[in-house]
């Protein structure tokens, strides 16, 4: 039995959605479901989708225009707080001067990308033409090191941090564009621009290029009225599923943690009701209590670890798949970002299913470049090295470049040494995925049901425990995390 009807499999419905009334109905359903899923900008998203639905011939230029609109009106991905803090440190208050400075730096960022794209196309033999992503990410890291180590003052300091804060979120979007420019028939810059935080990514909380770049979008774009109707019905269906997940997450948080939305809390208070819940502490709370020497009882400690993992299993699909639903409404048949992670029977399979577009980013820019270059005569070593390059090195580079505010707060070396917990997490993850891949591609379909269940439970247990080290902050050392892990073992307490 299916929870959500297969809307895209009903031929009559597909025909109706190709008509003007059908299109409007689908867009209204999309807007309503966005609202139910808590998307505050549902009207703007629906308006953009409506324009795209009625003018599919101009889809790509219209998406570039929508991307520009989102950049000017809702640039949520830009660390404006960081820019204001640096400016305030240097005695420059928020105002038109700062906005103008940011606009100039933004033009420099997009202009600089234009130059790099030109080099890729016109001088493919040049080092920057052959390894443009290495040049791009390497330059960013060098600038970050300069900003975090040199004692700059005044406008040079503001300009440098502005450059980092404005270019940082675009790093991997630009990387996809550079990859496309190296191909035989890339999209022109004005069309590539639409893939730099397209409105569907900009409306979400993720900085991962969900939908990758122009090359992938060309492959999954709907080219006929029927394709568009099918992909839009898939978007509506996905949003319906996300609403069910939203409800499940709400119930889960209420029953396990006693967390309720403000309106529900107010309702209970007004009517003098009490919410019965399991009283499991959040992992962060359990962690802080343990670090302070007041570890919760063993059963609650375990419950907090398991609950943290289950909460992530419900919450991560909401974040990524909302973005996928919006891109589908725009006419791109993107694969889901999270797809049945609990069905995974190997560690590598889970990683593929849990956050698909992040994994794809690492595969594209770290795995394959290593795989096709090194240890070609040693098959197993080749696979292990490429997996490490992606799941460990790439994973660390991505997060270090993303969280530049730590460099501002702690200096470059402070941010780097404080990264030890995540580095440990990435090392264990890389090693485990490498072993998982070396052991075999996937669990055979012929495995008996109970063996498949056992395999899934093993994978879930592994990721459950690994989550203890999936910590991107800099406030606790690896020793503290290992001590918390030790507290989970009855004999070590």
């Amino acid at each position: 039995m299916r929870v959500i009807p297969q809307l895209d499999a009903y031929p009559r419905l597909v025909s109706v959605v190709q008509t003007p009334i059908g299109k409007i109905s689908a867009i209204c359903a999309f807007a309503f479901l966005l609202l139910l899923n808590g998307e505050a900008l549902y009207l703007e998203l629906a308006a953009i989708v409506a324009i795209l639905s009625f003018f599919p011939k101009y889809r790509r230029p219209l998406i570039s225009a929508a991307t520009l609109y989102w950049l000017l009106i809702h640039p949520n991905w830009i660390r404006q707080g960081l820019i204001r803090r640096v400016a305030s440190d240097e005695g420059v208050g928020p105002g038109w001067g700062l906005v103008l400075g940011a606009a100039v730096v933004m033009c420099v960022v997009f202009g600089g990308l234009g130059v790099l794209l030109h080099v890729v196309r016109a001088r493919p033999g040049h080092f920057a033409g052959r390894r443009p992503v290495l040049v791009l990410v390497g330059s960013f890291l060098v600038l970050l090191a300069v900003a975090g180590t040199l004692q700059l003052h005044g406008w040079p300091r503001i300009a440098l941090w502005m450059l980092l804060a404005l270019s940082g979120p675009y790093l991997w979007f630009f990387a996809y564009a550079l990859g496309d420019y190296a191909s035989k028939a890339p999209d022109p810059y004005r069309i590539q621009f639409g893939t730099f935080f397209p409105f569907w990514v900009g409306s979400g909380d993720s900085s991962t290029p969900i939908g990758k770049g122009a090359a992938y979008l060309r492959k999954v774009e709907a080219h006929s009225a029927k394709d568009l109707a099918v992909v839009q019905l898939k978007a509506v269906k996905l949003l319906m599923w996300l609403f069910v997940l939203h409800l499940l997450l709400l119930v889960f948080r209420a029953v396990v943690f006693g967390d309720l939305p403000p309106a529900a809390t107010e309702f209970l208070r007004t009517h003098d009701f009490r919410l019965l819940h399991l009283g499991v502490p959040k992992l962060e709370t359990a962690f802080d209590q343990t670090a302070a020497g007041h570890a919760p009882p063993l059963h609650l400690l375990w419950a907090s670890v398991v609950a943290h993992f289950l909460e992530a299993i419900l919450a991560v699909p909401l974040m990524g798949n909302m973005v996928v639903a919006c891109s589908r409404m725009a006419g791109f048949n993107l694969l889901r970002n999270t797809y049945k992670p609990l069905y995974a029977t190997t560690i590598a399979d889970f990683w593929n299913r849990f956050y698909f577009y992040f994994k794809e980013l690492l595969v594209e820019f770290f795995f394959f470049p290593t795989y096709v270059r090194y240890f070609k005569k040693h098959r197993r070593l080749r696979l292990a090295a490429a997996t490490f390059a992606a799941a460990t090195l790439g994973n660390m580079v991505y997060h270090f470049c993303r969280d530049i505010h730590y460099v501002f707060e702690l200096g470059f070396w402070g941010a780097l040494t404080g990264f030890q917990v995540y580095a440990f997490y990435a090392m264990v993850l890389g090693a485990s995925i490498a072993i998982s891949q070396l052991r075999g591609k996937r669990a055979p379909e012929s495995l008996p049901f109970h063996r498949r269940v056992m395999a899934s439970v093993g994978v879930i247990g592994f990721y459950c425990l690994l989550e203890i080290f999936n910590f991107e902050g800099r406030s606790h050392s690896l020793r503290t995390h290992l001590a918390f892990f030790g507290n989970l073992l009855p004999l070590a307490r």
Partner: protein
């Protein structure tokens, strides 16, 4: 055996291993559509390296080239067998 046929058979075998027994046209997307995953791509890379001497490090690696049977045939056509570019 005809090269196109040999590669088609190889791709069909890869698909079968994923439980996908549907057919595919010469220009159908196999990687980008998700029918074949990253691990399958690795097998395909090794197959093309070993059988046709393609050096992806030298010519640049682009997943798009491997996305369809037509793409792979174009890739092989651009790289003479046994020659590392």
């Amino acid at each position: 055996m005809n090269e196109r046929l040999a590669i088609r058979e190889y791709l069909q075998n890869l698909l079968r291993q994923t439980g996908d027994r549907n057919g595919f046209a010469d220009n159908d997307s196999l990687l980008m559509s998700g029918r074949l995953d990253s691990v399958d791509t690795l097998d395909l890379v090794v197959f093309l390296e070993e059988k046709y001497g393609i050096d992806f490090a030298a010519r640049g690696f682009d997943k798009n080239d491997l996305d369809s049977l037509d793409g792979i045939m174009a890739l092989i056509g651009a790289t003479p067998p046994g020659v590392s570019l």
